[in-house]
Symmetry: C2
Subunit: 259 residues, 2 copies
DNA sequence: CTTCTGTTAATGTCTATACATAATCGCCCC
DNA sequence: GGGGCGATTATGTATAGACATTAACAGAAG
């Protein structure tokens, strides 16, 4: 235990206590000094070492555990986790925000807008019953007048009935939905495809050119909300993600869609 | 308020108290009942409502804040966060693990292995000084004998000197590195490219076919470790990610590379 | 009306303690 | 030796209180 119980009141030039403990443990793990499988000191050892209460070290170790750096088991204690998988966090931003950050002028065109029953293939992908009425919108996104993405979107009118009368004059469908409809689950699929004639014409590229396709389907408490298939020209856009296993943020990293 | 202050000792048929509070708040946010910008009750209101201590509600709200569902500010209280960006968490798995899960036989071939000074383009990408000695390895990954990925990797021998004598007889370079060298930062770039003649031959596809390219660069406390460029046939592989904003896991979701 | 300042309310961190839970360890008995 | 069983131990959850920090707010001074 600490030599003075009043030591808690003075953070002389440093951050917070739990942060200092966190940094110490993290640096030992990430430097390789504590390899995977290595025993992390018990909570009572750490509270003796840092002269603090168990709640403080418990919070630190719990955070490290939810971040995947250590594995905790009752009675057995904590060990440094195996780095089983690598994670990339892609943050798909709003087109307008992305353009503003890049210093370009954003514009969009609604190419197509219909309300019709879901087709068989989409019903299969989304799990919706045949005959469900969907709003189908095709949007072209332009950065400084140059096509940057081609978006084909289906919106479930059972979940979002107010979309039936929306014509997306001010905001593109993705932004409009994001601001209006919460979602609880999302599924993303990333693929590479060769542009067909229609895509090539819309995105001003040669037929057969490689395109990056991002499909996103979102649900809200089990109810399907929307499916978006966004096609980026392979030569003009790519997705960038950064990740740090020790980051304390919501997803452990940040990322952005970049030209 | 609770009808009985001694209720804390009896979780009759439910989970834990903090989890119940969490679920309540999360469902109100994600159902849209509390839209972005809506005020979340103050901590003392919640402790009155649930008949618990402030530490308990504080932990709940802090967790929701780090997960990005709410924004907290001193004196002003907490509000439901704006859903500014959508996140996709891609979990890039070990090839062998992925194959085992898919029920296929995994095999790999080292096509090329040299040690040479870094070239100008790679020096620019990685920020390494010209002349740094790098191990360059090209690997073909096969699932049931079919090429599934083509990997070009550079390993910094200053950071990983033991790689100089490694010939990857048992494990492919990615797996070998992951088990041996910790990393603290990673950067990912996803692109779509048309296969050139060499790639098409290796991956048994037509020249010009679209390929998904994942580039990953990793650092360890500022020191560059490795760069991997993994090319997947666009028609055979895609990346799948799932994400739930309320998930409590390390990155708020899970994902996998799938055929 | 503006700016400065002191109050105050809400969150952030930490302590000391208590009991619950789970799993390992060692012991006993067969 | 092996199998069951209780004791031990580390973590998981929760409490009640304390002080620090910050920023919104109101009132005073110019």
């Amino acid at each position: 235990m600490n030599n003075d119980t009043s030591a808690k009141k003075q953070p002389p030039g440093m951050k917070h206590l739990h942060q200092r403990i966190r940094d110490d443990i993290e640096s030992r793990i990430m430097s390789g000094q504590w390899p995977p499988g290595h025993r992390v000191p018990f909570e009572h050892q750490l509270m003796a070492e840092y002269g603090c209460s168990r709640m403080t070290v418990n919070k630190v170790l719990s955070t490290l555990a939810t971040n995947g750096l250590i594995t905790r088991r009752r009675r057995a204690g904590s060990v440094v986790a195996e780095p089983s998988t690598q994670r990339a966090v892609l943050e798909i931003q709003d087109f307008a925000l992305e353009a503003a950050r890049a210093g370009t002028v954003y514009r969009f065109q609604i190419l197509h807008r219909t309300i019709e029953p879901i087709d068989a293939a989409a019903a299969q992908r989304t799990g919706l019953p045949a005959g469900t009425r969907m709003l189908s919108v095709t949007t072209l996104h332009l950065m400084d007048g140059v096509p940057g993405a081609y978006e084909q979107r289906l919106i479930n009118l059972d979940t979002v009935p107010e979309a039936a009368t929306e014509h997306f004059a001010n905001d593109p469908p993705g932004t409009w939905l994001l601001r209006r409809v919460p979602w609880t689950d999302a599924e993303h699929v990333l693929r590479a495809v060769n542009a067909d004639a229609e895509l090539a014409r819309r995105l001003q590229m040669k037929t057969g050119a490689a395109c990056l396709v991002l499909e996103r389907r979102t649900w809200q408490a089990g109810a399907f909300v929307t499916e978006a298939r966004i096609t980026y020209p392979g030569d003009r856009h790519h997705l960038i993600g950064r990740f740090s296993p020790a980051a304390q943020g919501p997803a452990g990293g940040s990322a952005a869609v970049s030209p």
